[in-house]
């Protein structure tokens, strides 16, 4: 997510994104400052944005501890290739907000690029395949350079399915060099609890739902912020 991409979002979407990221936005804060706050939070180590979960994986590491800390002798293998000389892109889902994409462009293809194409023509097009809202744009672009080979893409809509195309601007046309697999993003929050039977509501509480933070903030009125903003 970059300032350009954020600037495409509506005020309401910006406020929702900020809320999802746990950023406090005082009433009346101007739009540019909201974007700045979001960018600043994104630039922080994203590990700090801890979402509640139901257990630690740290114990898993204990059984693999106590190593010698000696450099491992790597004399008996032939090494790993730096690249595989193919044009491809793959997208992997990391969590509801992030896709990890990596790609490569074959030598043959690289040499066919003009200088201008190589310096400013490459970009990733992130396409939402089943838009759940009425946003006009169901895709956004991220400029990349020839030296890039991976990108963590902050996506706006958990629960949606995305594809990432590796694209090139060529003579005023857009050419897709490679298309990724489709990635269905998971969600952070469960379905609205109000519509559930009382049995389920009670058993969810006994299951520890509150400690897991699985209900969306303001579950009772998810549009509250939007309405306030609109007013």
């Amino acid at each position: 997510m970059n300032p350009e991409k954020l600037s495409l979002l509506s005020d309401q979407e910006l406020m929702l994104l900020a809320e999802r990221m746990g950023i406090y936005i005082p009433d009346g804060l101007d739009r540019p400052f909201v974007i700045e706050e979001i960018i600043s939070a994104l630039e922080d180590d994203d590990r700090e944005r801890v979402f509640s979960h139901d257990g630690t994986g740290h114990v898993e590491e204990k059984k693999l501890s106590g190593g010698s800390y000696a450099p491992y002798p790597s004399h008996d293998h032939s090494g790993i290739p730096e690249r595989y000389n193919e044009t491809m892109i793959r997208a992997l889902p990391r969590d509801p907000s992030w896709i990890y994409a990596y790609w490569d462009i074959s030598e043959q293809k690289r040499t066919s690029f003009t200088e201008e194409e190589a310096s400013a023509g490459l970009f990733l097009r992130v396409i939402e395949l089943n838009p759940q809202s009425e946003r006009k744009n169901s895709f956004f672009d991220i400029g990349i350079s020839m030296d890039d080979w991976k990108w963590y893409i902050n996506i706006p809509q958990p629960g949606s399915t995305y594809r990432v195309d590796l694209c090139l601007h060529k003579s005023d046309k857009i050419r897709a060099l490679a298309r990724s697999n489709e990635v269905r993003m998971p969600v952070y929050y469960m379905q609205r609890t109000q519509q559930m039977p009382q049995i389920t509501k009670s058993l969810l509480i006994l299951s520890g739902i509150e400690g897991l933070h699985l209900t969306e903030p303001r579950d009772d009125n998810p549009n509250r912020i939007l309405m306030a903003d609109g007013e």
């Binding site: 992997l92 998971p186 299951s207």
Partner: protein
């Protein structure tokens, strides 16, 4: 089943670490420590409970890589020699601490532990502890689950279903070769689940698996009985749900039972406290400091504030914690029973097996106290220990739900296995499995030397998928070793691929590699072929 049920599930897993060309090889100690502190003590516990006629039931997943290592003669011989060395160190420790009223009894405790381990491993089990697990498996006291062949974090391979087929099929074949029957349950490596995985597992006649509370409750639709009943996926797989309370009580590093000050501290070890000239000979050539297993301090506080370990105080605390654990689970089950009229509530308590004994030294005592305490309770609302398939058989109809993408790693999704420290791995592992799929299509009916090299290629491709190495790269511990393991399997696979493309085989190199990475002897490279 007339009582609320509790299913204890342990996951025994270690990555494949075997270096026959280096002796001793330090990281093989991960296996040796786990055998010494977890697997043998667990088997002693089972024997003791059986002898004392204490009813016990639990499910245990033994991963295919662990099965491979526990079946391996070289590793088992090395473990036996490791025990000799540990006994020598124990004798030396008894001498060093002779007359010390605080520490000498602890040195004696370790001497007894390693002596028992040596007797059990060499004489009772004839260096094959899998026969003992098989004994209790066949008696119905334990149920053994399988897991991914090399513990791959499956959600990151969902766009390459053949690779997941290869993980599952190889695991089932390995399980069957050791235990003589197909597994009913599948432990998801790192609890990694994604929507749609159930169909693939169900196709292999896997009956059930387990997901995190988070993954289940985020599922669609929301599980009708919360975490107190399994759900059935649209494809027909039973999915049990981890209990959040039981998880926190034992797993939490800050609030869980193992963090109690009286328990033995995991970190402080004479391998770091004492001089290299003393501990070095027990660690291996060129290694100055490392874990020896001889630990004399209680959790207490920071290093300089730790108090000496008192086994008797810890033993008393274990019983207290076992009572508390059962009482809390019973209270939750009783509350759930009020709403559940058509079935008994189930509380699923899955943990890493190595937590019990290796990390939490008193863990096996805790399990013993759990079973013994439960055996004394006769009330209708007291908990009954069950295996997962037992519950599944009794309550085959479950609410339908598809759990959400989830794991037990930090954050609850995939960030542990996919961040700046380890994301480079995925390019290579995906490349290896894509190429292996290509080879399986190009060479569908090979035999002889070409089949051998294709089978070895399949082993190496599976090894590149292991989730353990990205985990270590992220945590920063043993990261150089983890990086070496990935580079080695990717390098081996790439060489195999290039040899097959060039239609040449370096037979000597292949034979050496087959002897070294000898896991899954019954592997069939065609597991990577497109399923038609």
């Amino acid at each position: 089943m007339k009582k609320p049920c509790l299913a204890l599930v342990l996951n025994a897993h270690l990555p494949f670490v075997r270096k026959p060309e280096i002796d001793p090889f330090f990281e093989e100690r991960w296996l040796f420590e786990a055998i010494s502190e977890t697997y043998l003590p667990l088997l002693r516990l089972f024997r003791k409970l059986e002898t004392e006629n204490i009813p016990f039931k639990l499910s245990i997943a033994i991963s295919p890589t662990l099965l491979a290592m526990l079946s391996d003669k070289i590793l088992c011989d090395r473990y036996s020699r490791y025990l000799d060395l540990q006994l020598e160190l124990a004798a030396q420790e008894k001498k060093r601490l002779s007359g010390d009223s605080v520490f000498a009894p602890i040195a004696q405790l370790y001497h007894t532990l390693y002596k028992r381990n040596k007797d059990d491993f060499d004489n009772l089990y004839l260096k094959n502890i899998l026969t003992a697990f098989d004994y209790f498996y066949k008696k119905g006291k334990i149920e053994v689950l399988t897991s991914g062949a090399t513990h791959a974090f499956l959600p990151l391979f969902q766009d390459a279903p053949q690779a997941i087929h290869a993980q599952v099929e190889t695991a089932i074949v390995t399980h069957r070769s050791v235990f003589g029957k197909n597994p009913q349950g599948f432990w998801l490596p790192q609890f990694g689940w994604y929507p749609g995985l159930g169909e693939l597992l169900h196709d292999y006649n896997i009956k059930y698996t387990i997901v995190t509370t988070r993954g289940a409750l985020l599922g669609h639709p929301t599980p009708f009985y919360g975490s107190f009943s399994p759900v059935t996926t649209p494809s027909g797989l039973t999915v049990f749900i981890r209990d959040a309370g039981a998880t926190k009580a034992v797993w939490s590093e800050t609030e869980g039972y193992p963090a109690d000050p009286v328990y033995r501290d995991f970190y402080r070890d004479i391998g770091y406290d004492l001089d290299t000239s003393y501990v070095g000979p027990f660690l291996g050539e060129g290694i100055d400091h490392g874990v020896t297993g001889f630990k004399y301090w209680a959790v207490t506080g920071h290093t300089d504030q730790k108090r000496p370990y008192e086994p008797l105080s810890a033993a008393a605390k274990v019983i207290e914690h076992a009572h508390a654990f059962l009482a809390e689970r019973k209270a939750a089950a009783r509350a759930a029973s009020f709403w559940m009229k058509d079935r008994q509530p189930l509380i699923v308590c899955p943990y890493d097996a190595e937590l019990f004994g290796h990390w939490w030294f008193e863990g096996p005592q805790f399990l013993e106290a759990l079973f013994k305490t439960a055996a004394r309770k006769r009330g209708d609302d007291d908990l009954e220990f069950v295996t997962l398939s037992e519950y599944d058989r009794n309550f085959p109809e479950n609410p339908v739900s598809e759990p959400e993408f989830s794991s037990w790693g930090e954050g609850g999704y995939a960030e542990v296995w996919l961040d700046g420290s380890n994301d480079w791995v995925h390019r290579h592992s995906h490349q290896a499995i894509e190429r292996m799929m290509e080879l399986a299509e190009r060479f569908p009916n090979e035999s002889g030397l070409r089949e051998r090299i294709l089978n070895q290629g399949a082993r190496e491709a599976l090894l590149t998928m292991a989730s353990d190495w990205p985990l270590l790269l992220r945590s920063g511990q043993s990261s150089s070793f983890a990086k070496g393991q990935i580079e080695e399997s990717v390098g081996n696979f790439t060489r195999i691929y290039e040899m097959l493309c060039a239609n040449t085989v370096d037979t000597e190199w292949l034979t050496t590699l087959e002897k070294k990475n000898n896991l899954f002897p019954e592997i069939n490279y065609r597991v990577f072929a497109q399923k038609r």
